[in-house]
Symmetry: C2
Subunit: 369 residues, 2 copies
């Protein structure tokens, strides 16, 4: 495989990528909701452009610097799904962004809303003020950030009182990253968003946007139930679906045939009868959920497991009986968590019909602030 | 702390760094061995220059591209401590390197030695050939790469037969990264290196270089025992000691007062009574050894633990009874594994007396190939 390439390097199978984009766009269309994919997975304007072409509307980002990269690349409708604490320096950057994009920002406390208002909205020229919107972050069970659903109305009122334009609610059902946890997380999400939206309505604040979605749960969201209001999402924000990874494979959320990104590694050692690849944690990332079966998988050898991972060594347990690849062989490794693998690379090599046809810069690599 | 900085960002306490460099140089001087620190930890010519000024001789690197970065910065004596599988493309890069540096390369199989000879030494101009040297990699108990110590002599003979200049043996006692495993790993290392050196001698190949050392084990290496030959190392290659990290802290290999690198994070959420910082896995790295007490530590709050880590959220369990820092507070986070944290950053901010006094580029960030 690709003997001309220096390894480790990241390969994107563009046909699989396009199929993943089309499948998620179709799911959103069937549910009649907006698809606003999370760009933190690919950090790449080339992939974002394909997402919009395939039917997505707007992008989600995680940091101000990711917003800056995508704004500079011409994407003008961004949701920064993060409970920012806005400093004066960050306020200046957000005001510069609002000069060129519509920006929605997540809020989960009155204090952070007041900081956002003080540093941004009150200092914006009047004609730009309607470009800044806020969604209330709700905890649907991950217990990371966000308020309890029933508290969303009170917070929305406080945020509005701070002078900000509340447009609705959002959550990230991150507890869907658990074996047998996908359906219950999808149910929790639907319930939490319905209660949060109702809490806003009760205070006279319309929840125009009701936003959720993670790759493991997005296909399992319950349909709208008019009696409870559950399932009334207006927007989905999955990220990982573009490429897939070993976590999605092991959760059963994506099939190996759908995995579009791999790290090409070279067999460098047979020490101790093992197989050692040069795709270490500085290429794959060090993520390993407690339920993961290893530090990564091999796309073409589903029985193999990466049982040891250091910075430049992946020690592979090879399936019994199968012939072991020779030194110098190249194998396609599936990282456990593709978002962190992409963030380690400067570029993605685009493969079609077995040949490298393009190179996409990871323009927002390292964009953490 | 540093309200003017955008977070997360990496801070280096230069006084602590210099103390760490002096302490390791003194240890090497006491043992009368060469200190050839591993540059993969800092990836930064500015730190490497301080290491040499403090007494180190030469550098260790993990990849050809790291060698290229340090060679371009003027470091002319490099050990590439990795079992390279040399392709034609990599051979051309190694030959270009040998035009400007003395390069020692690790080998753990006859096939990889033959590839190295075919792609590099046989194609080098005659006057450059003595710049390429080889060390035989020995497995001292980590079971990653390297041959069993007693097989080092046979491999050394095969490598010499391939036309390469064997100068000795090396190992990495990576199994020192275990609670209560530091001393036994240091003992294993001493034993393995002594046996490997003896195996070379028996075949008439002088083991001029006997190289080992990891940060957790380096201070515990047994003294030279003339009856067994154990402890006769000539060279130490620790890497992490420059900065320290939560792993060294929890292994007892470094004290918190010695930790020179932290990731500055901002408190962004108090959701659910928790403390959430913006220093997630894209800033800290996702490393978590099975024995680690969390995903990272707080330098100034030793009772706190990062109990949940996602890309831009670090959920902190705060010690009972202690007042919880306010939203917007800045805290110094100690990554579990500093090598992977540094590799996520473009620059290190250098702090002296509480002020930022310099910025060091992480010149070899992402240099994986």
């Amino acid at each position: 495989l690709h003997p001309e390439l220096d390894t480790p390097c990241l390969l994107v199978d563009v046909d699989r990528l396009d199929a993943n984009l089309a499948r998620m766009a179709a799911l959103a269309a069937t549910r009649q909701v907006v698809l606003r994919p999370h760009a933190k997975t690919h950090k790449s304007p080339a992939v974002a452009a394909r997402q919009l072409a395939a039917g997505a509307r707007g992008l989600t980002v995680a940091t101000v610097s990711e917003a800056e990269v995508f704004a500079a690349a011409g994407f003008d409708d961004l949701f920064l799904a993060y409970p920012l604490w806005v400093t004066p320096a960050q306020g200046a950057r957000l005001r510069a962004l609002l000069d060129i994009v519509t920006l929605t920002i997540g809020v989960d406390s009155p204090d952070s809303a007041r900081a956002l208002a003080a540093q941004v909205s009150t200092q914006l020229p009047r004609d730009l003020r309607d470009r800044l919107r806020v969604l209330i972050e709700v905890d649907s069970g991950q217990h990371r950030s966000g308020v309890p659903p029933d508290d969303a109305g009170e917070l929305a009122e406080q945020v509005r009182h701070a002078g900000l334009d509340v447009r609705g609610v959002f959550t990230f059902p991150g507890h869907s990253y658990a074996p047998d946890g996908r359906q219950s997380a999808a149910d929790d999400e639907a319930d939490a968003l319905a209660r949060a939206a109702a809490a806003l309505t009760k205070r006279g604040i319309a929840a125009e946007v009701v936003s959720g979605g993670s790759t493991p749960s997005v296909g399992l969201a319950p349909n709208f139930d008019p009696s409870t209001g559950a399932g009334a999402m207006t927007e989905l924000r999955p990220g990982v679906y573009v490429f897939g990874d070993a976590q999605q494979w092991e959760l059963g959320a994506m099939q190996p045939e759908e995995i579009a990104l791999t790290c090409l590694g070279t067999v460098v050692s047979h020490a101790g009868g093992q197989l050692v690849l040069d795709s270490g944690s500085k290429a794959l990332g060090a993520d390993r959920a407690p339920w993961a079966t290893g530090h990564g998988r091999l796309l073409d050898h589903p029985g193999a497991r990466i049982t040891g991972l250091s910075e430049h060594h992946a020690v592979v347990q090879w399936p019994g009986g199968a012939p072991r690849p020779e030194l110098g062989s190249r194998l396609r490794v599936v990282p456990n968590h593709v978002c962190n693998a992409v963030n380690l690379a400067d570029r993605l090599l685009v493969v079609a019909n077995g040949r490298i046809v393009d190179t996409w810069p990871v323009a927002a690599r390292g964009a953490n602030t």
